[in-house]
Symmetry: C2
Subunit: 294 residues, 2 copies
């Protein structure tokens, strides 16, 4: 039996492996970086009958793979903290996978305070109702919503929710109770500056990942034919060191969308999203700007 945990849960691997071994299982552990179900180590099925992937909903369906959720509870009443920031009365609810089981209770808490609440059903990469991923915000596109309440931590997901929904987004940290209105302007200004830095690059590296849920080779091939000199570069882990080693003056990332957004500060040169590259070559307008999703 092979076990795979994402970064935040990896510490549990020793204890889970020890418990399973006591039950008579032979256990191996995936130690490679893992940030989503897109990272799934299918090749460990060459060494084990079953691969248990913890903490994510199914993305790549494959015989022998078990997806094991790791839900995290919180006090649902905390959603009332967001009420003073709502601009209207029709509220869309979204969250990440560890909290989707709480959305029903959160909806009840808001309804009892007089709000209409909409939770979009799951689909595709986000099978849970109201679920968003770093590469998929379809649950946030809720016609008629006056506000979207994002429940979770971090800055990236609420930004993505804001840019892909076009609706005011309130971000609520479900543990601390802190609430904020999401402001995407600063983010957009930064992306604009990064695009400008790459405008005169004589050659682009178009990054392609082989990870089962991140491979967008066809898209990468299309990007090489948009009139700028560009070569496809295969990288499973996109790191500052390897970008520097290769020495391209600019890259376009077709692997995990979050890489271009979250890690730009660590990268030595501009790393654009496919959409940004299309703006750069004149195929799209800046006004249409949207988040990269898979």
């Amino acid at each position: 039996m092979a076990l795979q945990f994402p970064a935040g849960l990896k510490r549990r691997s020793m204890a889970v492996a020890t418990a399973l071994e006591k039950e008579g299982f032979a256990v191996i552990i995936s130690g490679d970086p893992c940030y989503g179900a897109c990272d799934i180590s299918l090749d460990l099925l060459g060494y084990a009958d079953v691969l248990v992937h913890f903490g994510h909903t199914p993305l790549v369906r494959h015989e022998g793979v078990i997806y094991e959720p790791c839900p995290v509870d919180f006090d649902a009443g905390i959603v009332r903290n967001a009420i003073p920031l709502f601009s209207g009365t029709t509220i869309g609810l979204v969250t990440t996978v560890q909290h989707t089981h709480m959305l029903g209770e959160c909806a009840r808490a808001l309804r009892s305070s007089g709000f209409d609440v909409v939770i979009r059903p799951g689909e595709g990469r986000t099978p849970e109702p109201g679920q968003v991923l770093g590469c998929s915000f379809s649950a946030a596109r809720i016609p008629g919503a006056t506000d979207i309440l994002y429940i979770g931590t971090g800055l990236f997901h609420p930004l993505g929710v804001s840019l892909s929904s076009g609706t005011q987004v309130i971000a609520l940290d479900p543990l601390s109770g802190e609430v904020n209105v999401v402001d995407a302007d600063r983010f957009l200004r930064k992306r604009h500056a990064i695009m400008e830095k790459s405008r005169d690059a004589p050659v682009f590296g178009i990054i392609v990942s082989r990870k089962p849920g991140q491979n967008r080779y066809a898209l990468a091939e299309r990007l090489t034919s948009l009139g700028r000199t560009a070569f496809i570069v295969f990288m499973d882990e996109v790191t500052p060191a390897e970008l520097l080693n290769l020495g391209f003056p600019a890259y376009v990332n077709t692997a995990c969308p979050r890489l271009a957004y979250d890690d730009q500060i660590r990268f030595p040169v501009p790393v654009l999203t496919p959409f940004e590259f299309e703006i750069l070559v004149g195929l799209r307008n800046w006004e249409e700007y949207r988040m990269d999703e898979i």
Copy 2:
């Protein structure tokens, strides 16, 4: 056509790709870390008819793979710098792949100064006469040699040559002309200290790589059965961050042998070689200590 360059040559990829594209080839580039032919990106053959792997001699033979050497010349007369340090008159010559084509000329220079020179024929992972790798020092085991002259840079290879040959080793930097007698004692003291630090670890992670030339799964399985609690951990890139994320108090590395030796200073906990682990569990004696080779 897919191109793969090791770390030190990666910068050439843009120029080589541009030249090949002008000749009408569609070119893709491997951007993943590459330290040897063991790292070969065979899966790029899913996207290209031919994979050209630069800078290393063949290790994994496979249809569609071309190994393209990148020889580096130097002034062969520089080997005379080592003469004052020789303890005898029968000299074994070894070097790394980029310089093996120079060994004949180096041998002539030493012979003209009155020395007997021995260069072992190539075999297995080291097909060039006199060639050593970070994981294979068989060319350095030369019966009757009074000294081994290692031509190259860095500390690791001459250390490996010293420990696996048991003969006095002189290291010569072929570009600067600097010569040194290799002293393996400090290295051995360090390894001893690292082993001691892992002695009471309640559980070990046995690292296995999926890289074509580094996979020692059978060895790893054997190590889990030596009486200490141990789990196999698959990691293609062994990084301090991932070792820390997993949280094992000690590891045994069956991937690239150099990892345990060269990168220990960056690792948060002890990372032993398979041989060191066997010493720890009482299967071997410290006096038999030898370098890990594949």
